[in-house]
Amino acid sequence: MSASAPACVIVGGGHAGAQCALSLRRLGWSGRITVVGDEPIHPYHRPPLSKGYLKGEATFDQILIRPVSVYAQQAIEFRLDARVVEIDRAKRAAILADGAALAYDKLVLATGSHNRKPPIEGIDLPGVHLLRTANECDTLRGAIAGASRALILGGGFIGLEVAASLRRQGREVTVLEREPRILSRVTSPEMAKVLHGIHREEGVEIHTGVTVSAIRRGAGLYRVETKEHAEYAAELVVAGTGAAPNTLLAEAAGLAVDNGIRVDAACRTSDPDIFAIGDCTCQHHPMYERDIRLECVQNATDQARTAASAIAGHPIPPRALPWFWSDQYDIKLQMAGLSNGYDDMVLRRHPGLPRSLSAWYFMGERLIAVAAVNDAIAYTVGSKLISLGKAVDRTRIADPNVDIKTLMDNVRGASS
């Protein structure tokens, strides 16, 4: 490549960073691409860290987003185990921890998020695990091997997935949740109740409304004390207590940051040559008419494609409907749209199939989100109806004798 070819530097080698580099090449962008990642390994799928990889069902090679050889074929360069510590916007350079300066024409921030560490005494003890990187997952797997009991702080998706994986490996598992119910931030009370029931059936003990005050170590055990004066003991503690966006670099560079790096519809930050994608961003969603920050693979890869399109001079794809999945035991949870702010919810159950149901969320006349447990058809129909933005007959949704696919006919009929 000639010295005058433009250079794109991507900060962060996760889902978003990898997809952005691959998409730039797919779109025919011929400039130089360098991905700087502070982990020592090439980009990998993070979801298996609480599921298949944690259970030892997948090898590390199997969770790589692409084999290393593919990046070489596509002339995508990597600087691994390297951290960008500063963005020099005046000189248009990303400064690495070792002092090296990487000149850029376009810079993409794909820095992801980090686990929130609750300010609890003992949170830094060696047997208290956080789970975000493959390295942390390997450490956790090592600890699981020597443990019979585990305590999980936080009943969010990651906490519950870890609970399910540990149960499947025969460990005794207790989940401690501060809020009055599990999944309080991401799903409705009804859906949370169903998932709570499934975990109880699988033998997980869940305590809600408990605030952990301290973690202490003694005699090979970790003792977790709560403000409610209860005490729990296990060989292993995993904290799944939420995530926060990695925005320090952007803030120090004077870019607009507010609950994530602010980006426009093309994933551009307040500097037109700097883009931001994935967990670290906050972007307006036209369908929900508000600014949102998402922590999911769909958002990371779709925003990566958007930024790549903008950089390569292609049309920007329309903002996608957010979707998310979670696998626990034999249940597959699929969610489309955002349920926050719903004013009505309809549950659809299937007689005789207690682990198969869907929750349909409405705001006024509009269907805004669907969450389905082992019901891919409900998820599919729901996704389509949300995108179409048409009124839907709620009594038909609730009626298990109605073939859910016929909801689509009605919509088509109504609009024609």
Partner: protein, 103 residues
């Protein structure tokens, strides 16, 4: 061992050899254009959508119910659509030809 040919949206042909795993893994391992596999193979993203060439449809078989539902969400789905992550490779698929769906 099965030899599998992917025809990409840009018309390029890639033939790869593989004895097990999924068609998606075979494509990703060889950098086949257009198979993004965002969800890593758990039948959630449909970014591994392929069309099986007509003469192979019977041997590859139909999609399962969850896979079929996800396929119905896609624009370019037809009766020969599959998600590559849900197709297991075996010797009987030696010579298989599939087209990567354009998105």
């Amino acid at each position: 061992m099965a030899s599998i040919t992917f025809i990409t949206p840009s018309g390029a042909t890639r033939t790869v050899e593989r004895k097990d795993g999924s068609l998606m893994e075979a494509a990703v391992q060889n950098g086949v254009e257009g198979i993004d596999a965002d969800c890593g193979g758990v039948c959630s993203c449909a970014t591994c959508h392929i069309h099986v060439e007509p003469e192979w449809v019977d041997r590859v078989g139909p999609p399962g119910s969850a896979e079929r539902a996800l396929l119905e969400l896609q624009d370019v789905t037809n009766e020969r659509s599959r998600l590559a992550c849900q197709v297991r490779i075996n010797d009987a698929l030696d010579g298989l030809v599939v087209r990567v769906a354009a998105r």
